[in-house]
């Protein structure tokens, strides 16, 4: 006997002055292997063509379907309804700008973040198009790849108490980005240069270690370990300059 799911969905259109934020309830019969992504598409097709939410890849790759599902920021396409109770509440991710209903703009946030952490390889080496590509140690390449897997869904930022308390906090995704360049031997930035980006309360020292980021990341990025690593590294960088300069 299939369950009837009760979806309480956040509805609000910031463009429309008459729109009032509210929860709208939809009832839907559950099917085999149903994900939140399938459920929402059926609601849109069968009950309410005006419902706004984002998706693209439906396979946990593009990061666009993140929303708050029964309190937890997660990917709609990654969440099976069979793991949820009969009543499911869907909210848009906090922190990010609301476009409408469940749809938020994570792009602007991530773009600004990449500018801030200068998310590109910094090097003065002249590029020689004819030379063979420089080899990289396999273990290092794997370590970089592990941190590159972030799909920019924004779940870790929406789950972060610090990010909700202060708008200027960089969030785990940004700090993880920095950690990715720290391990990359092609990036010649020194610890001191990284310190200038993240060595303050908008960066690593603002993190209060609540570890919601680690617990919600749908791609299981090793955020806890990276945050700990960066705090130690940046803390030691500060102490070193205490003894070296002047």
């Amino acid at each position: 006997m299939a369950r009837l799911l009760k979806l309480n969905v956040f509805r609000y259109n910031p463009q429309d002055p008459k729109s009032v934020p509210h929860l709208q309830t939809y009832v839907l019969d559950e099917t085999d292997n149903m994900t939140m992504f399938i459920a929402l598409n059926r609601v849109r097709e069968e009950q309410d063509p005006g419902l706004q939410f984002d998706f693209c890849c439906r396979a946990g790759i593009c990061g666009s379907c993140a929303m708050v599902i029964n309190g937890r920021p997660s990917l709609a396409c990654h969440t099976k309804t069979k793991d949820l109770p009969d009543e499911i509440t869907l909210l848009p991710l906090p922190v990010f700008k609301l476009i409408g209903d469940l749809s938020v703009d994570t792009g602007v946030w991530f773009r600004a973040m990449y500018d801030k952490v200068e998310s590109w390889i910094h090097t003065r080496k002249e590029f020689d198009p004819k030379a063979l590509e420089e080899r990289m140690d396999n273990a290092v390449a794997e370590q970089i790849y592990e941190l590159e897997r972030c799909i920019e869904c924004g779940c870790c930022v929406a789950a972060c108490g610090t990010a909700r308390l202060r708008d200027d906090f960089m969030g785990a995704a940004a700090l993880n980005r920095v950690a990715r360049f720290v391990v990359d031997p092609r990036d010649t930035r020194t610890d001191k240069e990284y310190f200038e980006i993240i060595g303050n309360d908008t960066g690593i020292f603002g993190c209060m270690g609540l570890l919601a980021c680690e617990d919600v990341c749908p791609k299981d990025l090793p955020l806890q370990n990276q945050l700990g690593y960066l705090r130690r590294k940046m803390g030691i960088t500060a102490l070193k300059s205490l003894f070296s300069r002047k």
């Binding site: 108490g161 909700r164 200038e196 209060m208 270690g209 609540l210 680690e214 945050l227 700990g228 803390g235």
Partner: protein
């Protein structure tokens, strides 16, 4: 001059890093103190003689007279540093509360517990230290008299769990923030945190009971 410039153009600074170190170190120092404190006070379980001997040692070496106020200073210092992270405005408190309720996430709740216990400790801990340090020397009989009076028993029954919660959560959080506790050790560390809380609660309660029944 440099401060005038820095007011208008943010300069890279090491301030937040130093403050974070000091917050962690002051917290860790207070945790160590609380453990030694527990050894002193719970020695009354063995007998008032044991507690008086330890207290007498601190008195003779002037560690009570000098160390006491120093601990008080460290306590206030830690408060000032940690308060940087506490939402004091009603609006932010509302955000923090709504966030914790939304998330159903243990570590997020633990942080709320840490902030609330901190405020209780700030007030009750200050009262406690004031009372003890203004009536030196410390003795088992004096403490027992206070506790048998009734109101102080109630006072300690509130303060004890607050301190033990704050200490065990703080100890765990230092571990995860500084990467001493890695991801694979986290569930073990949580268990250790609970055991720590449980053991110190039991010692603390047994100590209070012992004071209740100490002949003065």
């Amino acid at each position: 001059m440099s401060s005038i410039l820095a007011m208008h153009v943010a300069q890279p600074s090491r301030r937040d890093a130093y403050l974070d170190w000091l917050q962690m170190l002051s917290g860790a120092a207070l945790v160590l103190f609380m453990w030694s404190h527990m050894i002193l006070v719970s020695s009354v379980i063995i007998g008032p003689g044991a507690m008086n001997a330890i207290a007498g040692f601190f008195e003779r070496t002037y560690m009570a007279q000098i160390g006491g106020p120093l601990v008080f200073a460290a306590f206030l210092f830690h408060f000032v540093l940690a308060a940087r992270k506490v939402p004091f405005r009603a609006e932010k408190q509302g955000v923090a509360w709504a966030h914790a309720k939304m998330m159903h996430h243990r570590d997020t709740w633990l942080w709320i517990v840490q902030v609330v216990t901190a405020m209780v400790i700030l007030i009750m801990g200050a009262i406690h230290m004031w009372v003890v340090l203004t009536s030196l020397p410390i003795s088992a009989e004096k403490s027992a008299a206070r506790i048998q009076g009734g109101w102080w028993l109630l006072f300690y029954l509130v303060l004890l769990p607050m301190v033990e919660l704050h200490v065990s959560i703080g100890f765990y959080r230092i571990g995860v923030k500084w990467g001493v506790i890695k991801a694979d050790a986290r569930s073990g560390a949580k268990k250790a945190e609970n055991i720590l809380f449980g053991v110190f609660m039991v010692i603390g309660l047994v100590t209070l009971v012992r004071f209740m029944f100490l002949a003065i």
